[in-house]
Symmetry: C2
Subunit: 196 residues, 2 copies
């Protein structure tokens, strides 16, 4: 009886503040040999968490003294900032999907036990939606598809080129950054709607 | 021969950084008796200019040391900030059309000769397009109409609820703030397109 074309495709929105992912090697250089990240609170994606630990980051122009680390550790260190943040740091990072860090600016990262200079890894994260495979099948959405999503109220926008990422490891959630949240008036916990 | 429905409705985009409008009384309190604003450079709207003069503004949480004044002087003092700026200041100003400042937060303003505490006047400016009357007639747009405008490239968005303002004193220009510019990847000098 049901038709995927008539069901409203509502997606919870999460507004991501600047944050960093670290390798285990960098965790130990910044926090001490043998140290590991500890969980502050879980994130929407299964197994992901905000860590208790934070670091400072220094760009050529400005710095942020307390950037939250998201765990678990990854294969590459990656700092995700808004375009507003990038201006403050004095960097011009490209818009990228998470994990795609070739030809991106580096950054100096300082922790309580040491510091690391990475020669790449700073990106502005491309907005995207995590779909569990079952959501994607129900709505006829395929991995890597670009979607249009209406978000916000009196300041509503339609975000175009929203990247679909599909996995049975994902929970349904749309991730935008603070610039996108502020420009659309959207807050974490609001809902966006995928439109034609 | 021509049809308004087939002509592409391209509009130049201007990204407005935080700025302030002052009354003559406040100019004199901040810069000295008998002082007036001096022009640094003209703006897109006829007769409007960025002044050489700047002020500092102090909110309950943070401050900005150098906020550009836009002239000429107005009947009411008004500080226009992005939502990002508002968080830094510790204020929650509403989204408003310029000039609509009832029930908005106040701010402390400091100049070289004195300071002023206004009890209202801080807004997040609602995005809008200035149309010369001739542009509006040609495109069939009326004053106060709400429009949809596509802006930006790899990070393109459609801004909804874009307020049309029509006057024979205006030059065609779309004004968005820095959050909206950063979220859409648009810069001053880019073009938006009014869509159906």
């Amino acid at each position: 009886m049901s038709s995927s074309s008539t069901e409203s495709k509502k997606v919870p929105v999460g507004v991501s503040a600047r944050h960093i992912h670290l390798t285990q090697e960098h965790v130990e250089l910044l926090f001490g040999a043998g140290e590991s990240l500890t969980e502050f609170k879980p994130l929407s994606q299964p197994g992901q968490f905000a860590a208790n630990e934070t670091v400072a980051v220094y760009g050529p122009k400005g710095s942020f003294p307390k950037v939250r680390i998201l765990g678990p550790v990854r294969k590459a260190t990656q700092l995700e900032v808004s375009r507003t943040d990038a201006f403050s740091l004095g960097l011009q990072p490209p818009l990228r999907e998470s994990g795609s860090i070739d030809d991106t600016p580096g950054i100096r990262i300082v922790g309580p036990a040491g510091e690391v200079n990475v020669d790449k890894g700073v990106i502005v994260a491309a907005r995207h939606i995590h779909f569990h495979t079952s959501d994607a099948v129900r709505w006829g959405i395929t991995d890597k598809q670009l979607l249009r999503v209406r978000v916000g109220g009196e300041r509503g926008v339609v975000f175009e080129q929203v990247l679909a990422r599909v996995s049975d490891q994902f929970a349904l959630d749309m991730h935008i950054d603070t610039d996108e949240g502020n420009a659309s008036g959207a807050n974490t916990g609001d809902f966006g709607e995928i439109i034609e």
